[in-house]
Amino acid sequence: MTPERARPARSTPSRRKPVILLADDQETSIVVAQTILTEQGFEFVVARDGVEALDKARSARPDLILLDIGMPRLDGIGTARALRADPATASIPIIMVTTRGDEASFEQAYARGCADYILKPIRSEELIAKVYSVIPS
């Protein structure tokens, strides 16, 4: 019987870490989300308003976008609409992360194709569960 030989090392393509675009004008929210998700092995791109979020989404092609509603220049609902209208970003999942707890905001978010909705303050269990619900673990 021929002993099994060690196979020569093959260079397997390394799987890149999933990238999350955090779009929020509140520094605290960004820090909280990053703190929770860094432990899960994600990488981040940050945008401070909706217009910057559109630019970063097109250039970084993130795996997921966490989007605040109340942002300067372009709010989260308008940003979601623009992301969906652009073929380059239309398939990137969006989770709305916001303080807006009114019925209209929920309805607008889902009507703009958001995958889910998280009410601030961010709870780590909810954020992790919903992130892993839309991108590979």
Partner: protein, 160 residues
């Protein structure tokens, strides 16, 4: 007639002419009603049960505690669990097709939320008369406490 929007992690119950509404993605709404008593309520939770986890200051974001709190509210309104009727909605998986990594999506929290609801209601002995769960779209639920009727509509994607 009062109309109240039930947020994720909230449980509301009452008697008489009142309407409870909510909007669901992966979260689940459980509605309980005793129509002949005009008593009912809704629990909207966002996570399946976990062994020790808590949601914010309470546990109502989790399926099992939320449904138990709703059942307790029914008991406090003088209604026995054996006369209750349950409706279960939500638990969607709305991630868009073509996730950029090309890999399968992760563990769908919506599906686990629905399973938690069904198991908990079964454990409590409350039959589920109506169920509209899963799919890839948001839902709007309008629940009339006094009739026990629930209207569910898809939150349609806007054209642009």
């Amino acid at each position: 007639m009062t109309r109240s929007f039930v947020l994720p992690g909230e449980v509301r119950a009452g008697a008489g002419s009142a309407v409870l509404t909510t909007i669901l993605g992966s979260g689940v709404a459980v509605c309980l009603a005793a129509c002949d008593r005009r008593v009912g309520g809704m629990a909207h939770f966002v996570l399946p049960d976990g062994p020790t986890a808590r949601y914010g200051g309470g546990a109502l974001g989790w399926g099992r505690p939320a449904i138990e709190a709703l059942a307790t509210a029914m008991l406090e309104h003088g209604v026995r669990l054996s006369v209750l009727d349950a409706k279960v909605f939500g638990g969607a998986q709305i991630a868009q097709a073509g996730v950029p990594t090309g890999l399968p999506v992760g563990s769908p929290v919506g599906e686990r939320n629905v399973r938690t609801a069904i198991e908990e209601l079964e454990w409590l002995g409350i039959p589920v008369s109506t169920r509209d769960t899963g799919g890839s779209f948001g839902r709007k639920v309008v629940f009339e406490i006094h009739t026990g009727r629930a209207m569910v509509s898809e939150v349609r994607r806007a054209a642009s």
